[in-house]
Amino acid sequence: MYRPIFLRYLLIGGNKVTAFFKTLIKNKVMLFMVLPGALWFFFFSYMPLVGTIVAFKQYRFTREGFWASIVKSEWVGWDNFKFLFSTNDAYLITRNTLFYNLAFIIIGLVLSVAMAILLSELVGKKLAKVYQTGMFLPYFLSWVIVGYFAFSFLSMDRGMLNQVLGWFGVDAIQWYSEPKYWPYILIFVSLWKSIGYNSVVYLASIMGIDKSLYEAAMIDGASKWQQIKGITIPMLSPIIIIMTLLAVGRIFYADFGLFYQVPRDSGTLYAVTNVIDTYVYRGLKTTGEIGMSTAAGLYQSVVGFALVMISNFVVRKIDKDSALF
């Protein structure tokens, strides 16, 4: 008996397909709810992901638009990555990105926890509130504004820092062309912006610790320091681990604003201020080689992914509950 092919297909595959559509219709309200978000992810996350293919192409523009140009551009394999590794650029930007982020994470953690404990021990809660509000301010400012702030201190002829140095008879320093100071400046500025916020977050969880624990410790004659070591820090550790993990997950992504706005895009400082994100941006700006810049971005994405997986794996080994996934 003769049947058109599509009917035959429907008979065979039909059950699955109808079942699929049935579930779809049954969940139409929920699907409708995820639709805007899913579309957003599709356009703003997944489409660019497909676009990274230009990292392997010598991108040349054609009339038909971006996607057609990608398809038609010549496949050059790993050539675009060569320029990244032909100089020590790749090493430099990777080192900078990792070094700064590590410094931010470690120093930031120690100082914020210390500041939180300090705040919790203050007598006179009114003043403590005032301090907190003050510390919180930098968190709300954009990097553009922080850049202006930094300039008011570091400007060579007008900045406050050089004036202060002048009082001590020290010669004015050209802050924006002396790379050796910038690791400290960048770490300082980053901590300045984030410690207030982080310490208040830690403070909130210190406040949540059961007071009877301290009372019991005091009855046992534990000193203040012993209480901090024995109670506060262990009780804080879950949130410390989570906050640190979140930061480690982003360790290969630098804060573009910090590294772009604060050093005022000064070329002499690139050796210590160039991170992967700024490198990609400048690459596009100066060479206009879309393929090469995308290659640098892809490198970041891949290594960043690997780092997240590794750190998650390590955490899983130590404490399964604290792992991200």
Binding site: F61, R63, G267
Partner: protein
């Protein structure tokens, strides 16, 4: 489990299909608006709208003026114009991205320095114009000095319409005349970088708050070399006989210039933040500067004084040399993705031959932005500050009306200036970088790092120059140099130089 997975993938597929439909719609809507033309007054065929990207600080009245321009062009060639201005400092970068990403455009400004003409022509950013010029640009070809058309050929083809203007490039020292007069300074004997020192010293001592030697991060001290590739340190000496390409940083002239710059910087003649300064326009508007270096043309002083609102004088700092950079100093190209290349060429033809259109584009609306004094003279009105355009980038300069203070024979002077210019030894040699693209990108990165701070004297050349040279080598400058030398030798043999 597998059933579940299957339904996942089905879901993903349908999601993607939906997204594609949506994006297709979006895309259509988008291109429809781009093509839709203004007006539509039912005069036969709908007029074509041309999108024109040009360099300069965006002006408030651009849209208003373009409306007037469109009325005129619609009558003449049935096209309307949309002009998009991109600021000086952003032009290179924004256009790189706009062109690479296929932003809709028909006409765009390009030059040796701005949005590199030769490299981008080779990359396929511009349409090849040989036939279009023949077909729609006859008058234009007759008007423009053939040296420009010849000099802007890339591999034997024209990719743009050069502006008819000064042909050679001559550097001058510009002075804020108010200060020159106040301190009775003699600027007639000034020429070399060293010779300006006493002037700088006087001003620095007497006017400590004034920026003595104004410059932004693009400043490079003048040395008698011609650069083989714009913005890269490869150059050939102007009086060369052997056509040897050298690293400009290794030449004695540049070494000396850099230590002089360092001396000036340390003496406080140069603004401390010069190496990160994007533009000196604030200094120019406020008049808080004493001198700087600029490229000149006949009666340039008049032009500057009129534009700043206070007198500016200048004196020569170099010979007038015709180089690729000067010949390709201002070109209007038709974008490779233009929908209407024929109309675009018709427009360029009109712009370069029709004084009414050319002056409208340059000075705005008559009676609003400027006032005509007679057939060839005009005067800016107060509103002109809302439409202050750079003349050099907008086509044939010799059609422009004259300022009352201009000499009547200004354009004759131009012709003479052009005739007297001396050709650079490597005029019309265009480097093809495709073979060393990787090295070029790396070298450009190094340049970003060292160039501005060395050239402005911000860092000590004693220690930084060797470092920079070393880094350039690491990035592959030698390979680029060798490739350039090979090409130059071949070009030399071909042209019997």
């Amino acid at each position: 489990m597998s059933k579940k997975r299957k339904s996942f993938s089905l879901l993903l597929v349908s999601l993607m299909a939906l997204a594609l439909v949506v994006s297709a719609c979006g895309g259509n809507g988008n291109s429809a608006t781009n093509n839709s033309s203004a007006g539509g007054n039912g005069k036969g065929e709908a007029p074509v709208n041309l999108i024109w990207y040009t360099i300069g600080t965006p002006q408030k009245d651009v849209d208003r003026v373009m409306e007037e321009v469109s009325k005129y062009t619609q009558e003449k060639i049935n096209a309307t114009i949309t002009m998009k201005m991109v600021d000086w400092g952003d032009y290179q970068q924004k256009m790189q991205v706009n062109v690479a990403s296929g932003e809709p455009m028909d006409i765009l400004f390009t030059s040796a320095g701005g949005f590199d003409y030769v490299q981008n022509a080779r990359k396929g950013a511009f349409m090849e114009l040989d036939d279009l010029l023949e077909q729609y640009g006859k008058e234009l070809k007759d008007t423009i000095d053939p040296a420009f058309l010849e000099g802007s050929k890339v591999d034997g083809h024209n990719y743009g319409v050069p502006a008819n203007k000064e042909l050679p490039q001559q550097e001058v020292w510009r002075f804020n005349k108010g200060l020159v007069d106040k301190y009775n300074l003699d600027i007639t004997n000034v020429r070399s970088l060293d010779s300006i020192e006493p002037l700088l010293k006087t001003i620095k001592e007497n006017e400590p708050t004034i920026t003595t030697f104004a410059m932004d991060k693009n400043y490079v001290p003048y040395v008698p070399y011609d650069y083989v590739i714009t913005n890269l340190p490869l150059a050939v000496k102007l009086d060369t006989t052997d056509y040897k390409i050298v690293n400009i940083l290794e030449t004695p002239e540049m070494k000396e210039a850099l230590s002089t710059m360092r001396k000036y910087y340390q003496a406080g003649y140069v603004a401390p933040e010069a190496a990160t300064t994007g533009s000196t326009s604030d200094l120019m508007t406020s008049g808080q500067w004493f001198m700087d270096r600029a490229q000149t043309q006949p009666s340039a002083d008049n032009l500057w004084s009129a534009s700043y609102g206070y007198p500016v004088v200048s004196t020569q700092a170099s010979d007038a040399i015709i180089t690729n950079t000067s010949v390709q100093g201002s070109i209007m190209a038709i974008s490779a993705n233009s929908e209407y290349p024929e109309k675009a060429m018709e427009f360029l033809n009109l712009l370069n031959t029709d004084p009414v259109l050319r002056n409208m584009v340059d000075s705005g609306i008559e009676g609003v932005h400027y006032k005509k004094l007679d057939d060839t003279h005009y005067e800016n009105l107060a509103e002109s500050k809302n439409y202050d355009m750079p003349s050099y980038s907008l086509g044939n300069n010799m059609l422009l009306y004259l300022n009352p203070s201009d000499a009547d024979d200004k354009w004759e002077q131009f012709k003479q200036f052009n005739a007297e210019g001396v050709n650079s030894p490597i005029l019309s040699f265009n480097f093809d970088s495709t073979k060393v693209a990787t090295q070029m990108a790396a070298v450009q990165n190094v340049k970003e790092q060292f160039w501005s701070s060395l050239m402005t004297g911000t860092v000590d050349p004693e220690s930084y120059l060797p470092k920079a040279i070393e880094k350039f080598k690491e990035a592959g400058l030698d390979q680029v140099m060798a490739e350039a030398q090979t090409q130059l030798d071949a070009w030399r043999a071909e042209n019997n130089k």
